[in-house]
Symmetry: C2
Subunit: 268 residues, 2 copies
């Protein structure tokens, strides 16, 4: 069994950096799928079948499944069964709570559902993160600077030390990265901040949402990491990829689109 | 149908301030329940039956249910059916994500499960909170200063304006509280900070975890709010209340314990 770090490394070494975001929404999937038993699961299956050679990881956005109640959790579990075991899975669940509660969330995501990695809110500090970090073979991505406008409200508050809050999070993430199982979330929409902060990332994995529907530029992100000689990054694309076509042949269209993204990652 | 604000007001006016935390753990409930079909549900039912006259609210800690997969969500739904419709229910789920995703979480908690309120991570800022705030008849509790040690890592970072991060969160919460549907989470373990900051709370509801197993003092919290002439608070007790007895008569013991807590709230 490959661990999270090995799965990711194998893909990144092949210059695969695109994380497929499964934000699957009943209101956006092709209508012909409504004839099937479980349209969301069928959609996910076709997306995976058409991307698994080109994807660096799959990210499941929990909100879209929790929306459906307990049925949604079953769909998550069944979707994981379609994803080849050598590809990293990310539970985009943005959890974080006091120690004994985070311990339960970690069990839910890493044991019950058996995800390779998770996204976490850093707000509550170390003891809210540690129950995830004790899983050495999994990866925990802490929110640093997110892709949305609201990032300005708190993440960009300047501290008395002259640093932004998100820079304090990056600093602590490095401190806590003893087992090389920590990453950060950094918005692909924040390219200036990416350039200014990339030297702080060290060995942290970087998950960058915000390309596509949110307006971030894939090329700018790639160039920034290239200039820094770093391969340690995943660019998430959700809506712009999985809803790029709503015909019966949407699977082929998605396959074509992710290959195009991959060509932009390696321009030669 | 009473809305969240009305439910809470009715109980607070009766001097009921104890929120019963249903952090139900298979490893901690009385062993005779294992003979029943669904021990966790049976436990919750007996807790509710023995506390509903004395409780100000019920808080369901999602981690303990998600730990069980989709079955856990079903238990949440069935537990809500036992809770009288005039008592506030809190989804202690600590969510928060970009706008279109928070919208899905809000639908999951406020529509699919029909909770009266939720706890939220403020880290990602306004557009991560707004999808919850548009539900005017529900209450959203933002994490301000939490009860754990890790609160020192980020929540107590001092800004260049001379305020702690958690004070910025309180300030913004007041700004965003146009529909009087916002609250904050403030650790009952942080009594000095409570005294120093209570004047900033204004019309925000306050949920205080940390009494009992985490060491916070019920009396100190009550005194602080009394001195400030505020009734707008809920003191959560989880482990110290629901696991106060593991005999077959645990229901009676819980009933006795919550009544004792209530006597401490109104000492005369």
């Amino acid at each position: 069994m490959m661990n999270a770090q090995e799965k990711l490394k194998e893909r990144l070494n092949k210059n695969l950096h695109i994380c497929v975001g499964l934000d699957t929404d009943l209101n956006k999937i092709p209508s012909h799928l409504f004839k099937t038993n479980e349209p969301i699961l069928e959609f996910n299956k076709i997306v995976v079948e058409n991307t698994y050679e080109d994807a660096a990881a799959y990210k499941i956005n929990f909100a879209f499944y929790e929306r459906l109640g307990s049925r949604g959790l079953d769909i998550i579990q069944k979707t994981l069964e379609f994803i080849p075991k050598n590809i990293l899975t990310i539970a985009d669940a943005k959890r974080g709570d006091i120690g004994n509660t985070s311990e339960m969330y970690a069990k839910a995501i890493f044991e019950e559902l058996n995800f390779d990695s998770i996204t976490l809110h850093p707000y509550m500090g170390f003891d809210s993160i540690q129950p995830f970090l004790i899983y050495k073979n999994k990866i925990s991505f802490l929110l640093a600077l997110t892709s949305n406008i609201g990032a300005n409200d708190f993440e960009k508050i300047k501290s008395s030390e002259g640093k932004f809050l998100f820079q304090h999070v990056i600093e602590k993430s490095n401190e806590w990265n003893i087992n090389k199982n920590l990453g950060i979330v950094f918005g692909a929409t924040k390219i200036e901040e990416l350039k200014e902060n990339i030297s702080l990332f060290n060995e942290l994995y970087v998950l960058l949402p915000g390309v596509g529907a949110q307006g971030g530029s894939l090329e700018d992100v790639v160039k920034t990491f290239d200039l820094n000689n770093s391969k340690n990054y995943l660019i998430n694309v959700s809506r712009a990829l999985i809803y790029c076509d709503t015909s019966k042949n949407f699977g082929e269209a998605i396959s074509h689109t992710i290959k195009e993204y991959n060509r932009k990652v390696v321009p030669n």
